[in-house]
Symmetry: C2
Subunit: 266 residues, 2 copies
């Protein structure tokens, strides 16, 4: 099986042009097949506020009403996606910025209203990923740049967490490729002490994760990130690492997430 690298970058990277260029330089230079997934929450919040809209969050998750859906569609699929694609094209990397609606790449289901109405938010599973079309692009040496906008197949756009996009696309493509998933953060990985970058966990086993969450070492946005990572391993992704741009230069950088049975590709 050919190797495939799926790299997820956060929206904050887009506010740091020098770092972004460096990450894209390394990513574009990878000889493996590759897919980039990007966020854009920080930019969406800025544009929303400029338009007089107040971003609403619930437990760290965005509530996406109709007006906010327009904003995230403009920012993720328009501004961020096309800027990244242009930068990559400038590095001779044939990027194609796609939302889930494009070529029906990722279909989602609108989240049912429970205690919270998240609005136009889409939940996805690997069956909703169009692996046939993504493979055609990859075989053409085209590099998909995916954002968090999905669709319900009936004409409605939906907003999906970008980490979830990355892990689900990685999981779906294990049927065709040996997939490595890299989740980029602004830290070198999961740290025992957030102020000490030498306290990096080079590996994390599922058994350790719940204890680290309980004691507060893993907190905030890192919790769903690691849960996504564990889910990806369970779905057959060969390796998942969480860390900074160093991961693109060294196989040993970042925190490697190990599956229940020690699954990993060394």
């Amino acid at each position: 099986m050919d190797r495939l690298i799926v790299l997820k970058i956060g929206g904050t990277l887009l506010d740091e042009p020098t770092k972004l260029q460096s990450v894209l330089n390394h990513f574009c230079a990878l000889s493996e097949k590759k897919i980039l997934v990007h966020g854009g929450g920080a930019q969406a919040n800025r544009i929303a506020k400029s338009l007089g809209l107040e971003p609403k969050m619930q437990n760290g998750r965005r509530i996406t009403d109709e007006e906010m859906l327009d904003v995230v569609t403009m920012v993720y699929a328009g501004l961020n996606g096309k800027k990244i694609a242009a930068l990559m094209q400038g590095k001779n990397c044939n990027a194609i910025s796609l939302s889930g609606v494009d070529g029906n790449v990722i279909a989602a289901t609108k989240r049912p209203v429970g205690e919270v109405d998240f609005g136009f938010v889409g939940d996805i599973d690997p069956e909703g990923v169009n692996t046939d079309f993504l493979s055609i692009l990859l075989e053409q040496k085209v590099v998909p740049v995916l954002n968090a906008i999905t669709h319900d197949r009936n004409g409605t756009l939906l907003n999906t967490n970008a980490d979830t996009i990355a892990t689900t696309v990685a999981a779906a493509l294990t049927s065709r490729y040996s997939v490595e998933l890299l989740l980029l953060t602004d830290r070198p990985g999961v740290l025992a002490n957030p102020n000490d970058s030498t306290s990096l966990f080079s590996e994390l086993h599922p058994s350790q994760v719940s204890a680290l969450i309980d004691e507060g070492t893993i907190s905030g946005g890192m919790i769903p990130k690691i849960e996504n990572a564990l889910g990806a391993i369970r779905c057959g992704v060969s390796a998942v690492r969480i860390g900074d741009g160093e991961m693109l230069e060294s196989d040993r950088a970042g925190t490697r997430i190990i599956g229940q049975n020690g699954e990993q590709e060394l």
Copy 2:
């Protein structure tokens, strides 16, 4: 040669949901290979004003400074493109909304600063159209939905007139398909008397056009539209018609633009 229909719709159609649905219903039902090209100037102006920016025009052409480039990228490539693609997916038509940067579909050259500095505006020619990649999509029964954002291959996005995108893409694809170009307007075609829809020219020859411009019958935005149409015919496009949604239902609707030597496909 297979037939290919290239349909250009204006941004104003996006403000008329019922008309838009009707046009997309007819377009999606076409059995030929097809490409949609859309504008979005009206929406871009609204968003720009909401963000406190004043749209600047010169002889009906937009001046695209850096802030306005962000706005048109958000609106054309984000909001409008993805909404149209979602509606088409809801009609079982496998749309893919693309900017010129995506898969390097349309490369452009930044317009040199002359008497007017148009800013981030891109001029294109048929050589800049990636007919290989568009053909791969068309052969996969994927329907490209193109917007006016192009790129310079060096990392910079550019804004290009959507009519020009439509005619240039149509011209470029004549090497592989028998191409018909339909330029949708809010009128049934070119009218001798703008208040009388029965005064429709069913055909227009180049020799008539300059006289009609001189006497003011053809004016404003219709002038570049017809000039684009004549250019497309010169480049080998089989048929060009200008008119309203009726064109998708009847080969006889709209104003048919005839080439210098009477080139047309009846």
